[in-house]
């Protein structure tokens, strides 16, 4: 009488164990690449590209720079013609919103909303590393020209 429940519990446990082991393995194989091609992500990518084209001259002349928190900032507003200053500031602000949305959306698309912070710091490093020479980057509180 006593052997039957112990055996069935052990069998259940074995099945459970196999399931538990196979799940993380499958997850690990999937995460060799992050998903970056959902409609939401592609929408943000094209928004970022359009806004970049408008900001490009100001990134090149140093009016706008990249910050080490994965965003952008107006570095020297005096380098922007007065008539365009407000507009450039608005684009920088809307670009920063799109960037934060990108980091959140990427984390969500890959099933880990809690990764948004790490994705943001990965992007922060790569935006700065990939920025062409002449652009300004804000690192540890001070602007440097690449």
């Amino acid at each position: 009488m006593k052997h039957v429940p112990v055996f069935s519990f052990g069998t259940m446990l074995m099945v459970f164990g196999v399931l538990l082991f196979s799940a993380p393995v499958a997850k690990a194989q999937q995460s060799a690449n992050l998903e970056i091609n959902t409609p939401a992500i592609n929408g943000i990518r094209s928004t970022l590209h359009d806004q970049f084209l408008k900001l490009k001259p100001y990134l090149q002349n140093g009016a706008v720079g990249l910050t080490d928190d994965g965003l952008m900032a107006v570095r020297d507003a005096s380098l922007i013609p007065l008539a365009e200053r407000g507009q450039v500031e608005a684009i920088v602000s809307s670009d920063n919103h799109a960037r934060l949305e990108l980091y959140d959306t990427l984390a969500q698309a890959n099933g880990h909303p809690e990764w948004a912070g790490q994705i943001r710091s990965t992007f922060a490093r790569r935006w700065i590393d990939k920025a062409p020479s002449g652009w300004y980057v804000l690192e540890n509180g001070s602007w440097k020209q690449k």
């Binding site: 112990v6 519990f9 164990g17 790490q118």
Partner: protein
Amino acid sequence: MSMAKWIQMASVVSLLLLLSACVTINIYFPAAAAKKAADRIIDDVWQLKPHTPVKSVPPASPQSSSGQ
């Protein structure tokens, strides 16, 4: 303690260990994959590298025009 009880307790402990291992693996952040994803998106957003840099300047024509 009976054999059955002992096995049951050991099973529960190993189940907990398995569960914690599973959670640890799933929380791990794929840093290399994230870097690759970032690079692809940044290249796409900036498009700074010209795609056809060779075609724009044929080597023969500028020489002949500047030489004469």
